[in-house]
Symmetry: C2
Subunit: 234 residues, 2 copies
Amino acid sequence: MARGSLVDSTPEERRDLFARAMGFDGLDPKQIEQVAGMSFYARFGKGAPVFLQEDPCEYFYLVAQGMVKVFISSSSGVCITYLLAKRGEPLNLIGPFTGSPRILSAEAMQDSVVACVPRAEFVEFAVANPVLLANIMTILGKAIDSANSRIVDMVEKRVEQRVVRVLTTLLEKFGSEIKLTSGELAELAGTTTESTLRTMARLRGLGIVESRRGLVMIVSPASLKSLDDQPLWV
Amino acid sequence: MARGSLVDSTPEERRDLFARAMGFDGLDPKQIEQVAGMSFYARFGKGAPVFLQEDPCEYFYLVAQGMVKVFISSSSGVCITYLLAKRGEPLNLIGPFTGSPRILSAEAMQDSVVACVPRAEFVEFAVANPVLLANIMTILGKAIDSANSRIVDMVEKRVEQRVVRVLTTLLEKFGSEIKLTSGELAELAGTTTESTLRTMARLRGLGIVESRRGLVMIVSPASLKSLDDQPLWV
DNA sequence: CGCGATGTTGAGATGCCTCAAATTCTGTGG
DNA sequence: CCACAGAATTTGAGGCATCTCAACATCGCG
């Protein structure tokens, strides 16, 4: 069984989810219906793990509600967020194909609902639908490019620039209200909570953002973007 | 046409290449023959580009001879090596599926020969062979995990540890004679030539490595590995 | 009301980059 | 075969960005 607790769902709900899901565009309604039919919903409370790095992969996961972060954590306690997934975004495109554990973990950042498709069925479906495969490859390409960009950024960009980059990326994805703590932003920027806070203080001083506990509001998106173009992929 | 200059090859040569190539294990001899039949060889002189970041992808590439590095370079001149590909290793697993340009470039580090398969034919072949697809997914999974590990390393590891990590990885892949300059090692470790050189000086002092211009010999693999476990994927 | 999580700011330590100069090696052409 | 140019190596000194540690304020939740 998957982690999390089973929750009822109607075929229609699931169809609507998959129909607009990332990677599933270009599929026929019939095929959407088919893959949605293989899925069930599971609920995860805030902070609950969806999967851990040592878990073998048994399901393909697609976020239906809430927000799930996919991250890598080292033995020394450093965490780097790899992906923030909201409704319609898959958590593990690779895992189903290999079944092997990876170094990534996923946990719900809020109460969340995740659609689960048994791995074997998902792979069978994917292989039968080249459009889906191509979409998956496109997404993986962006993921690899994004990871490599972050490596370059770690080398050549200062902390402030990396934080700005994270904020512009989040702005594009979630709008100007970003419900994350500075610690969470730090895990995206690859730095410490303190350094992130100092950067936020500067951006606040510049009138670019406002922030409350667990919330950043981007007041002047234009100014923020002028500090950094070329967003990441999160 | 592909970059590089066409070079003659026999069907047998190409069959032998694909038969042992990374990602092509588990395919029937007949299928190996088929994909090898779609390919031709191209030669690239030392320093010649195999593809550049702005190039749309027209071919799937597989190294037959020599060594090709796949890297990302930023506008400010920083280069990060993503992959060192020797005989039997593919350069671009994603590109053929999407056709779009990526942020990666590839160039020959020595005189090299690369097998080229027209993208459309390669994709058609891949989709018809789920074993190959699964293999590709496995490789991509390692690539993403490796990239994410490198990000974590940039945050929590010192330069010396990163260089050691690079050396252990190269040791596993190429043996104890590593024909790279310190500049090239720096691009793998995400640091500067000088810092790499200083680390090499220390390792030499510890009796772990010896080095000449463009060559590092690992004298005491055991000592090196004791400094760092869990290799990267290059 | 109190406790844990988050935010805030300061001061200090330091790892690493940057710049610079000198040396050694390679191979190329005269 | 030698001279020379270019690349790679080596080492030093200086500066600074960022992490670390620390103290304190603030918020929200049980």
